[in-house]
Symmetry: C2
Subunit: 408 residues, 2 copies
Amino acid sequence: MSHKILVAQGGGPTAVINQSLVGVALEARRFSSISHVYGALHGVRGIVNDDLVDLGQETVANLEAVAATPASALGSTRDKPDLKYCQEIFKVLKAHEIDTFFYIGGNDSSDTVRIVADEAKKGGHALRAIHIPKTIDNDLVGFDHTPGFPSAARFVAQAFAGANLDNAALPGVYCAVIMGRHAGFLTAASALARKYPGDGPHLIYVPERTFVVEKFLADVKDVYEQHGRCIIAASEGIHDEKGEAIITKLVGKAEKDAHGNVQLSGTGALADLLCEEVKNKLGIKRVRGDTFGYLQRSFVGCVSKVDQREAREVGEKAVQYAVGGVQNGSVAIKRVGDYAVDYPLIPLETVAGKTRVMEDNLISEQANDVTDAFLAYAQPLIGADVPEVAKLRAAKVAKAGVLLGDGT
Amino acid sequence: MSHKILVAQGGGPTAVINQSLVGVALEARRFSSISHVYGALHGVRGIVNDDLVDLGQETVANLEAVAATPASALGSTRDKPDLKYCQEIFKVLKAHEIDTFFYIGGNDSSDTVRIVADEAKKGGHALRAIHIPKTIDNDLVGFDHTPGFPSAARFVAQAFAGANLDNAALPGVYCAVIMGRHAGFLTAASALARKYPGDGPHLIYVPERTFVVEKFLADVKDVYEQHGRCIIAASEGIHDEKGEAIITKLVGKAEKDAHGNVQLSGTGALADLLCEEVKNKLGIKRVRGDTFGYLQRSFVGCVSKVDQREAREVGEKAVQYAVGGVQNGSVAIKRVGDYAVDYPLIPLETVAGKTRVMEDNLISEQANDVTDAFLAYAQPLIGADVPEVAKLRAAKVAKAGVLLGDGT
């Protein structure tokens, strides 16, 4: 029997999501049972609009160039199908005689695959539906980690390594806000930037713990008194004891996205708020805030080789599972060595619409840092070729003794 | 006669400022007439505090590792000496028998060198004082370009190349704010991100032109109607017709730095303001703002090889000029081929305290883009090895004709 397969990309882009797309496209070419590989433009929206492209007409050279390019080459969407939307999907799939659907995405996209698979079963449509993971948030249940996270983590680590040096040169307080609504993995990755004793980030705040402004200020004061400077990594999703996002305390009326989530990204408001607190309450003059924003998921030229390889492999494995007769599931990443992985297929229900957060043993007791367990977990993911930094050994010259206070 | 030389770093760090430092330290080792190479910690402040380190005790391996590390390895300062400060400087230099001073920095630092040289002459102190250039702003008069700019420009280009792809995947308006108080060179470098027709940034606003909010909104509307999305690069220094910074219109009371300048960096307020304008006035829903902040000057792992080489060479040339008997000056970069440079020594007065801005032929008539002349000027600086991006050629699949509106 001959198969037509369709692949699409959903949710926020990553540095390696196109590796998975190309993994599907190239792996499919190995199988004579696969007659066509189509791509849908802008995720499920491209299906209901019958906006498909023929990946069989792409050259290998261009596919490999696309694989090395960040962001979703097919375009993405935040659409989440309901029953009516699913019926439109089936209408188009049936008309094109497509019997296999691969959706590359995160929690919401895996839930889309689950809904589509469920509705197909109920409606008697013959459809294989497989979820291929990606998300910089690293928040998929059932996964050791997710494609996209290692490259974003590497960006965050390289950014903090530089920010630490910059701040050492011109001391003050520096606070950077990192993506991550519920899961602090990416913010935690800032810890990978440390090399020498005293290096920042000195404080790391993740959404898995309640953020208490007074505690934060006391932490900053302590670090500043000890080092004469302080570097802070804060997740955009930090919240108070009632679960209210710290950012909404500032902006009041916050924008909500298509899934009803408050907009946390694409604004520098949280970093500015935290800086204002430090300036006003601690009286420190040089206080600077950055929000890494879209750079952390899209910057061209910062990618983990481990991530590239794994993102390619989950695409390849999805095709192999489908050809092997699997009806549906999610291609997971399981760590089987230090460092080695395997790609078991797990049920869609394990992943769909659920959110993994950082395990307790990864967060320090004081809730303002990560543990060594986190470093051991994350270090292999960002690759062995992270650029190194160095400091002068700085042998002091004996003072000439001409200054007041030198005892002269 | 035996010389003791002192090197220091001033102003904002760059990705390659340590190349210049190491250029001085290693070049000095060639000359038996140079007995010691000292470094001052945190610029001129390290001199008045008699806080010196002996660079003669550094190993070549560590110096090379430091050269490849962003930010100022000796530490930096925003201090600008007056007469009293200069007298403290001379006291310490004399006590250590230092007769040569190299200061690596931008406008303010070159002015410091001029003041120190002037006061030394007036006071009869035998002191050679040479300015070694660095600034990501590219705003030194008498220079083709300045060390530090090419690497920052490369960061901006790679960031926009990624942001363009991200925005194409999830369309909307994206506005990123770039460093540059008076000179728009770094913001203009965003144009180097374009590859395919329709690629962003679609609009570029530099401080050399008056920023008119209504014109900006009309520009965004035009682009959005044409492309269904719009990417904007705006300099932090954009201002209205009276010269008032657009950011101060928002924040009212703005912080001023040690030189009396309003704080433009280390806050996301300008990007947020521009996004609010677009949302409210144009009714576009998905509008996101980023502020590249300190990443553009400190990110580890994004450097132009051209910049690395030239930053090293200006340090080497400074030592050669001093050994050759020069009293003072600034080591300039002159373009002598396409692409090749030379390093003439120019008078401190040419550089000190002055600000170069973008020449008129580099900015488009509509004041919302750069010209081809700018691209020809900037392209060789960022290096030939910038990571490439690629798009699918996306051969359309014929519509199945099952949708409403397909004529079925």
